[in-house]
Symmetry: C2
Subunit: 738 residues, 2 copies
């Protein structure tokens, strides 16, 4: 590929980006699109809608960029939660490190590569891109120490930046935990694998066990039910009730039904007899109640939420082995109420490890099967092969522009389209795997997508081609550095175009929200539906965006010293991404649940992996170029990077996995001092509710789940608090009717 082809590609992409961003700046001003572009604001407040058409609304303006940049970190923390802040820190980190890398590499390494061989240089636009890579440096060159020095500077600054980021995020996480209002998940644990006994129900077992061993801190518990059966049962009940009540009294307010049932199934001592018009309804209600009670008892799962009086007690019980059979009474800290993935809670515990292993195999299989489209993409970038395969294309491909388009643009577009299939698949895998929280599922999917992307975009493109040659490559680990060293400069061109197309364009399409825009228009103008006021905005797709950003980081690190031409393009990507994602977090996405920055360890590990990979490739390159000194200096760097990682793992890792006793006890004391404890315990009883009961609630969409039906959960409004007796809470359906 020549410089001119690269410029063509860059031109197309810059044009496309400017076009889309301008279009966005116009579209966002249209009142019809408020629900697409301001879901977050809609969810928080009623924004004014200016329905008058004025000229200003039709002129593109960069004001949104300024607005996005003006938002402070505290505001983002408030709007998008800690996870959003951490995500933006990834971009900040990338911008910083690649600014340094770009300065070093463009000023030092690029000229060295360009004048690396004694050759007659052509006019730059018709120069091949290979001239700018390290492959242009002649073997045994004395100037390779510059590359080694650049590697040292990049690695060291990356490690320093990583350390400060990790430190900062760990502090933010602690502040977030201590600063936020009492979180029910801190007081609750999930118990699974409750032993079955023929003498007592699961609920009784739980009560007996915890009153026996943790009497001083145990508050109450709440069973988990097999959702399918219960849902059916409740629907039937609701239907019967509706028919009967309709017959007995046509005047009964229709809106009451859902709330009655809600009270029945989630318990509580609320007196709702005033809702019933006559004696018949009383009898009916009693009958239904006893039916529900009887059936639900039978459908209890071997899992429960157990609530404790203090945070510290909950953490202690969740971390200490409970039973001398480790497969029984398995305890974990509970996820936040909105974060619970109910349909996975009733999976028998023994299935979990089996599922995990099965999913591991499935994911690996999926990774290798995905090679088919990638191989095709490879074929496109090697034009000669394509012409041999499809001779009729020769005529078209001879035209310069078409050939440049095909080699420079098409491959990554095709790859991109196929990559869109990956996140939903991985999300499905993670759901089957048995994660009990939505955030856990997303994090697990994030890792899977990350491994997948790194393997399929980076390694497969490098090691070029078919399954067999890949397996050969894996089976000779010693040769891998050499192979990579040969391949990276060769494939640098592809990576640059990948950054241009996949990177830049994906940002534009991210901000355009094409799918939501089109479906909104379709609903409004073709189906003529009115805008839904309870429109539920999407939550941020960490599982697709984090791997994307990390992949570009990997490309940046590995190419930095070898093919520094990629760095300016990458820097533009990160800068644009910073603005775009800020804007999206502030305006579009709603944060429904929080992990408290638990994605950062993934980011840290991936960055260390990228650095180590870069060093290994550099080792290979220095080997090929016969520079023993440069190779020799790279090895200590490699070891130091690994040691640094080990240190960070020890220093910061546990903070992201556990809560510390010190912090929790202080928080408990603070609550005690302010007299909030009672209030917290009361709220706790109604925090987790497995079934949402109105049909509306059932239909209310959950963005990242196909299982939205049985996975919805919501807080009760204040006036619907269930009874305060702890024993009643544990069997919520035996509602007292005074």
């Amino acid at each position: 590929m020549k410089v001119s082809a690269l410029l063509t590609s860059a031109g197309i992409n810059i044009g496309l980006c400017v076009l889309l961003l301008s279009l966005y700046s116009v579209l966002r001003k249209q009142p019809a699109n408020v629900s697409v572009y301001f879901g977050q604001k809609l969810a928080r407040e009623n924004i004014k809608r200016n329905e008058f058409i004025c000229l200003k609304r039709l002129v593109p303006s960069p004001s949104w960029i300024l607005k996005a940049l003006e938002t402070s970190e505290d505001e983002i923390l408030e709007i998008g939660g800690l996870d959003a802040v951490v995500f933006l820190r990834i971009l900040v980190f990338s911008i910083r490190i690649f600014s340094i890398a770009a300065i070093i590499c463009v000023l030092l390494v690029l000229p060295l590569n360009y004048y690396g061989k004694e050759m007659r240089h052509k006019y730059i636009p018709s120069e091949s891109l290979d001239v700018f890579t390290i492959s242009n440096v002649k073997e045994g060159s004395k100037w390779l120490w510059v590359h080694c020095l650049a590697l040292y500077i990049i690695t060291c600054s990356a490690c320093v930046l990583l350390y400060f980021e990790y430190n900062k995020i760990a502090k933010m996480r602690l502040a977030h935990i201590t600063g936020s209002p009492a979180n029910p998940s801190h007081f609750s644990i999930v118990v699974r694998s409750i032993p079955w006994s023929s003498e007592e129900s699961y609920s009784d077992s739980v009560r007996r066990f915890f009153t026996n061993y943790h009497a001083s801190s145990y508050l109450t518990h709440q069973m988990v039910y097999r959702s399918g059966t219960i849902k059916k049962l409740m629907n039937d009940t609701e239907k019967t009730y509706s028919v009967l009540s309709h017959r007995s009294s046509g005047s009964l307010d229709q809106n009451c039904r859902p709330s009655i049932l809600r009270r029945i199934t989630c318990g509580g001592a609320t007196n709702f007899s005033h809702l019933l018009p006559n004696q018949l309804m009383h009898v009916l209600e009693k009958f239904i109640l006893s039916c529900v009670d009887f059936c639900i008892r039978k459908k209890e799962c071997a899992a429960a939420f157990v609530f404790f009086k203090t945070r510290y007690a909950a953490v202690v019980v969740s971390q200490v082995l409970q039973s001398s059979n480790p497969m029984l009474w398995v305890t974990d800290l509970a996820p936040e109420p909105h974060d619970v993935y109910w349909s996975n809670l009733w999976i028998p515990y023994w299935q979990l490890w089996f599922r995990r292993i099965a999913i591991l195999f499935a994911a690996i299989l999926f990774m290798f099967l995905f090679l088919v489209p990638v191989t095709f993409v490879q074929g496109l970038s090697q034009l000669e092969q394509l012409q041999q395969m499809f001779p009729f294309l020769k005529g078209i491909l001879r035209k310069t522009f078409v050939s440049q388009l095909v080699t420079g643009y098409l491959p990554s577009v095709i790859l991109q389209l196929f990559l869109y299939l990956v996140p939903p698949t991985m999300m499905l895998f993670s759901a089957v795997e048995g994660s009990i929280s939505r955030s856990g599922r997303k994090r697990s999917a994030c890792c899977k997508v990350l491994y997948f992307t790194i393997w399929n975009v980076f390694f497969v493109n490098l090691l070029s081609g078919s399954i067999i040659s890949q397996l050969n490559a894996i089976s000779r680990p010693k040769d891998i550095p050499m192979q990579l060293a040969k391949a990276v400069p060769r494939q640098a061109t592809f990576f640059i175009t990948y950054v241009l197309t996949s990177g830049w364009t994906s940002l534009s399409s991210e901000i355009m929200q094409l799918y939501a825009l089109v479906s909104n228009w379709f609903n409004k103008f073709i189906l003529g539906k009115k805008e839904d006021p309870s429109y539920s905005a999407l939550s941020f797709p960490y599982h697709t965006e984090v791997p994307k950003v990390l992949l570009f980081g990997l490309l940046g690190f590995t190419c930095s010293v070898l093919a520094p031409l990629i760095l300016p393009f990458l820097l533009v990507y990160f800068l644009l991404g910073y603005v775009v994602y800020r804007n999206q977090i502030v305006n579009v996405y709603v944060s429904k649940y929080e992990t408290g920055g638990q994605i950062w360890p993934i980011v840290h590990n991936t960055t260390i992996f990228s650095l180590v990979l870069t060093q290994i490739i550099a080792l290979g390159v220095f080997g090929i170029k016969h520079s023993p000194i440069a190779s020799g200096f790279t090895i200590p760097l490699l070891i130091c990077t690994l040691l640094f990682n080990e240190y960070c793992r020890k220093r910061f890792g546990p903070i992201f996995k556990m809560f510390s006793a010190e912090v929790l006890i202080e928080m408990d004391r603070q609550d005690e001092k302010c007299g909030r404890t009672e209030e917290i315990h009361r709220q706790l009883l109604s925090a987790y509710c497995q079934f949402s009961l109105t049909l509306n609630d059932l239909l209310c969409k959950d963005d990242d789940s196909n299982h939205s039906g049985d996975a919805n959960c919501m807080h009760y409004p204040e006036d619907m608090k269930p009874g305060e007796e702890s024993t009643q809470m544990s069997e919520p359906w035996t509602a007292s009717k005074d």
Copy 2:
């Protein structure tokens, strides 16, 4: 190697074994050797010594075998602790599985191998041993399914036996924990990395932290001191005191000194003024006390033992992250008092991970450097190469007997001699690594020796030869099954002789206790020393014996289907081992500390590794022999074995790492009910003592430590209990003198 050479080797070894065992049966009857052969009994009771020489004492008899076999498991549990029982279970397991394997393989596989090719069989003694291996089966043979079936039977019975053993040992461990008398280590934790503050001493920090956060369960604590300085200080004090007291009163009982100092440094409110003859001594004593107090305060380490009121509280504190900086207030369950490795306690916590990594590298380096002797051994078993290297040997080597001796016997003897160096080195590595308990150090050394042995005895012998060819082998993982498949039948001969020499002979030398015997004689008859009544017996060398037994297990599994001739020899080894080790545990070794069977997970994992390796090698062999059906059936077996391991890891693993809340709380309640709590707390205060003070104590040997000087610890007799005030205990040297 021919059958006759094997028989020569076997003959030599059987003769040697019978000779040594007979010699043992005579030597053990000599009163002079009581301290060598009955250390265990000496330590427990005063056995009668029959000094009269009678004929019976000079006649070899097998009575010791009967005695060893008669001892019941309960007696062994009492004498040697759970670890000894678990060690014997390894042998029982091996005997069982290899009995099954021997029956299957000798009856089914061996004839098949022998008649595998159409060839004229020679007279059996001059038949090559290769005829009995799978390499004699012709390619594409239809009978390979028998090998596959044998593999299935062996794997399945191994898994079933493993499961039952794991289950049994887990139950025994639980019974051991609940059944044994109150163990101070259950109530104590080790805190390391106490943050330094200029305002208060470490001791004050610890008290403040634990009274703040764990007030309800915190009992007291005890600091750890930098041992070198304190020891010097105490020696100086003792010397000064001795000189002064000698001057002031020649009549002062010399035996009092140590006990005075012991009281000074380990605290307590004992009135010892009656020991002092005059006023001068009072002044002197005050002066020394204040000196010691002042200096010791400055030498406090950032580590302490903290004692709790209940077992559950100790476990909770040890498992929950204490500080929001995971590098501070690091808590672990304390080892048993005898098990504490004091000199490692004062290692700064941040050094630990660094030391661990350094030791990892050092161990790997050591493993590869060890190749030099192994390569030499390899050369010996290939006689032709040796003759080429040393032409002058040709004459000698032509003699049949010498050649058989050299090929069949010498290689493994040389290997064996070099292998004797390994355990001390690994023990040193493990000590440097920073383990805080002697048992932990031994377990860590055990793992290192195990990896080392498996690599250097098994793999290096198989992959034959120099470092470079080994590295080549590692760098082509795909080819490893093929390489192993070719090598195992070829090297089976070497492994058989290895079992004969290393296995059988090592058992004989184990029972003879040559080193102790010779040094005992030397002391008695040449130096003319009297027998030391406080002779400290050795503790069982798990770190050398466990890897040895496991290595033979590995050899047995891998050779079973391919070269079944090894199995009878192996079975003899395990049977003999069972008797010998039983005898040694009952008579010789003293168990000073307990891990509660924590070696079993190592055994389990190694056995699973052996099984998987066997299957991989079988896969390779079936591949070479062109038997796709047998290969196809081996793969599901491999997957099932791994799944089984995963299950066991989940089911039993945690039991060996943690104590369960259920068990601990029940134990605490039992103590409460019986009113033992007070008594336990009182004992707890004096359980851990860093410094033993009489010179005698200092010189008292510790078998497995070169650091015995600064690592000794002992219980106090009843009359020397220090003060019962908890605050006094934490600063034991501020002895009150009323």
